[in-house]
Symmetry: C2
Subunit: 566 residues, 2 copies
């Protein structure tokens, strides 16, 4: 992608179009593929990209957000974001508009947007992704300072990976819309005569879309739904979490630029802003013309959304993610891998494991059985070593997005015995950053009673189960009742029971990572390949890789015309 | 298909497999295609097929239904079907089982069925369709005597067309399941090293399926959902309407034969039976493990089903279907076409037009404007001529399925002025058949107040609207609020407003038949081609042609394995 830095927009668009064509094949193969470069190196993005992005971010602080093209008449300006690294308010304000006015504008915009030819919509969305790519480093710094993510994650997940997921959604939409571009000559023999009809198929979005963002991965989680809805002709109102507006505001700005460039209304994709005290999400969601909702966030609001009649709803809520460790060829490699999974962004990923189960007889290793307590100690040591390594710890852990997370951990997940206490971690660049290393507790009694909620944040419970079967059974029943987004198992793949165990987890919607060691983790979900959030349990149904992620947003209606002169 | 009569099962299966491969292409082209022969001629089905089917049907009367292979221990035998042609009870009883027991058996069966390889499931369902084909004439007589349809419709819609729709669902399922049969080698470069994973994708049905049948088109409406669910690995409980059990009982028997032939549990597809007085549909639908529901029937029960949380629901409820007549090159051809649409099965099709709108200025014809009253008279004459033609009328009209339909028409649809009264029609073969020719009324004032419900049964209102625009607007707003399944427009396609008008109807989910004359009608929806029930309005969302019709029944979960030796 080196050449992309200096080429013209036309060439870049051409290059993107070719990549998205390849993406289409990659989706069928589900092999590794990326449209955007994940390495934030000058080699790919130019010598000054990082400094420019940082400078652009810093220039935004303390001012009204600029560059939105939507009608902001009558807006009050609001913004309450605080950096978990500096503890200071960003001071950026955004135009907060009356929700009814936003919906009215979106309804008007739908008439304009739904009749744009599908290929033109796809092309325009590709332009928007190129706009977004120009802001990758700005997005990275913005994401870092609203979510608390370390820079590398903020860049990768917030920018290229989010853009890849958007490209995946656009590619899937292109495939599906293409299936309906049929000019059918329907000729039915009727004895000596025939009926000749021309049939056409019209794709119509179900209505206005609403994207409700989250505070931890604002672009990674929301861009796919936003781009999927736009691709099928539905205007989108983007309502970020009030504590993580900036990354999505930049994304909306990029989309609006592409819309206006094409002579279309910027209200096809509008930013909606609220505050923690005066939320507008319910008001927007309950509007009758808002038919499509993409939501990422806590389960209780997600469960409320599920009660709204007549909505096409895609959710990513909370899950209880379990790693089951029965066997380890290399115990050190296994605990290192799990320690990284636990530490990464301080357990604030929806895919992070907060519960690790081991059988009472211990973990089978070449050196014999490792007792649960010894396993827990080994894990704690690995977590402690990573957390307190000044060259890695602070950057892997990042900061705690919301002070409420730390408050909650004081009273939840307190079962069993403490093996490792969470400790304050200093960040070399941000004095007073809100940081805490993960705690580890060992639960030898009543694991069923200890596994009750997600335990979002830097903490992990090691639960001792009588047998592997019991661990599988408990993991599955918890997932069925409360949801799960990721899962891992460490055991002998040649064991007779292995296939059944994996199937038992799969059938409650848990994707299983088997015996992962090295630099690949159960928390990770790659675009064009992984089924992130399966729909098989209450954790959510917004599975981008699934054809439903596109097709549920629209309906198809067929018209019949008599073929003339027959 | 002549050769199919005498060939062996193996050859017939081969022939069916080839047809279903062609069906897969036909779905992309949406050109005319059929797997099963719709002409009930001896040429295709053999000299004795009709007589044999009739004899088999008659031999069933007055006895417990035989041949189901499911566990019927503890069943009480119930059956209250009455022929609208003879007025007599069929006297066939069916095993009525405890709904909880049915669900428990289905849960058990899912463990067996979901692990059958997708290709084997598809193959087995093809076998079931061949079993079903053997019973086409029995199905035809059964359908005739529970629904009141004329023989030709009972044969075509009940047997080959229903089987075609099942084949369409199976074909779509085969395509989709095939997309997940990926053996992905996911290799991600990481600087000097790479991560190598094997990723697999597992398709899991959401749970048990429930198919709730209707009393007018039991097989045509229910087979697609039954076969779609079975194809994705979900066991199905088939609960026919208590007044139209026999056709679905025969279908379930065919499926059970194919299951048992393959050494599988017949409980993968069970028949559930109830009576009008003691319905069990709610009890079944509310079972937590019943996750997928296909429903055809009245809107009020459908609306109740929509309130159940956590279900994947496919509905076909009622709609208000409108034909708008602004222009006719050949007025006679237009009223003939509409008269047939109104008469066909006495307006008991969910796609029948019960409301025809004309502009106040009249219908434009080469002979000048035809005033609304004159148009209504011409339509009434055509309906009367068809209804009272002893060689055509009784066979096109069929009988009235439910006496409640006639009762309801005494008090509803009474706006305006009567142009044609419904009249008793004699059937040449069935004395005392429950028959009534369609009535026609002309509504010149307050059309908005007159168009309030479906008017299911033999009646049609001609509504006078100030302009075509007003007709389009009223049709669209009624569809948006109450649903619509079909629509027709007669106007000059070169008129500047034509495209907008069609789009205005399309965007509320109305498929538009344009200027149909001759032997093709707005009521008809062909397999492999038409989008019957679009999901764009409250009439329902069970649109077989849509990929959702399959994909919403399952979720996909991905597993990751480290590629060994790397």
């Amino acid at each position: 992608m080196e050449e992309m830095v200096d080429t013209t927009l036309q060439q870049r668009l051409q290059s993107l179009a070719e990549k998205m064509e390849k993406a289409s094949e990659a989706i069928y193969e589900r092999a590794y593929f990326s449209v955007f470069e994940e390495n934030p190196s000058p080699k790919f993005y130019g010598e000054t990209a990082d400094a420019d992005g940082k400078a652009e971010f810093e220039a935004m602080l303390g001012k009204p957000f600029e560059g939105l093209l939507q009608d902001t008449e009558g807006a009050s300006y609001k913004g309450v974001e605080v950096s978990p690294y500096t503890g200071k308010a960003l001071g950026i304000t955004y135009p907060a508009l009356d929700p009814n006015a936003l919906v009215a504008k979106a309804i008007e915009a739908q008439l304009e947007w739904e009749i744009v030819a599908p290929d033109d919509r796809i092309g325009l969305l590709m332009m928007a992704l190129l706009e977004f790519e120009k802001s990758f480093f700005t997005i990275a710094h913005a994401t870092m300072h609203v979510t608390g993510q370390g820079f590398m994650m903020a860049f990768q997940a917030g920018a290229p990976h989010a853009a890849d997921r958007a490209a995946e959604a656009v590619t899937l939409a292109g495939q599906q819309l293409g299936n309906w571009e049929v000019v059918s000559e329907w000729r039915k023999p009727m004895g000596k005569t025939e009926i000749a009809l021309h049939k056409e198929y019209i794709v119509i979005p179900h209505g206005i879309s609403l994207a409700l963002g989250c505070s931890t991965f604002p672009t990674w989680n929301s861009l796919p739904g936003i781009f999927a809805s736009l691709a099928v002709g539905s205007p989108v109102i983007v309502k970020p979490h009030p504590l993580a507006i900036l990354p999505l505001a930049i994304a909306v700005r990029c989309i609006q630029r592409a819309l206006v460039e094409a002579g279309l209304s910027p209200e096809i994709c509008q930013l909606a802003v609220d505050t923690v005290e005066e939320p507008i999400a319910k008001h927007l969601a309950e509007q009758p013309k808002v038919k499509i909702i993409d939501y990422t966030g806590g389960s209780s609001f997600g469960n409320y959304l599920e009660t709204l009649p007549g909505k096409v709803l895609f959710t990513e809520k909370a899950g209880i993610n379990v790693a089951i460790v029965a066997q380890a060829d290399d115990l050190n490699a296994v605990v290192q891998n799990l320690a990284f999974s636990v530490c990464l962004y301080s357990g604030q990923m929806c895919t992070a494991p907060h519960h690790i189960m081991v059988p009472a007889e211990g973990v089978t290793t070449p050196a014999g059985k490792i007792a649960p307590a010894d396993f827990a100690k080994a894990l704690a040591e690995a977590i402690n070593a990573l957390s307190t390594n000044p060259k890695a710890g602070p950057f892997v852990l990042g900061a705690i997005q919301n002070p409420a997370t730390l408050e909650r951990l004081k009273t939840t997940g307190q079962a069993g015995e403490e093996i490792l206490a969470g400790a304050a971690i200093a960040h070399p660049m941000f004095e007073g950053a809100r940081m805490l290393s993960p705690s580890v507790r060992l639960v030898t009694q009543n694991p069923e009673a200890a596994i009750t909620e997600e335990l979002f944040g830097p903490t992990v419970l090691v639960l001792v189960l009588p047998t592997i079967e019991a661990a599988i059974h408990l993991t599955a029943s918890v997932a069925e009742e409360k949801g799960a987004i990721s899962g891992a198992i460490y055991m002998d793949e040649a064991d007779d029971r292995f296939v059944d165990y994996v199937h038992s987890l799969n059938r409650v919607g848990i994707p299983v990572s088997v015996n992962l060691t090295g630099p690949i983790y159960m928390n990770q979900n790659a675009a064009f390949s992984d089924m992130h959030v399966t729909g098989g349990n209450p954790a959510g149904n917004g599975s981008i890789g699934s054809p439903d992620f596109i097709s549920r947003r629209f309906f198809v209606v067929g018209n019949k015309y008599v073929i003339k002169g027959e």
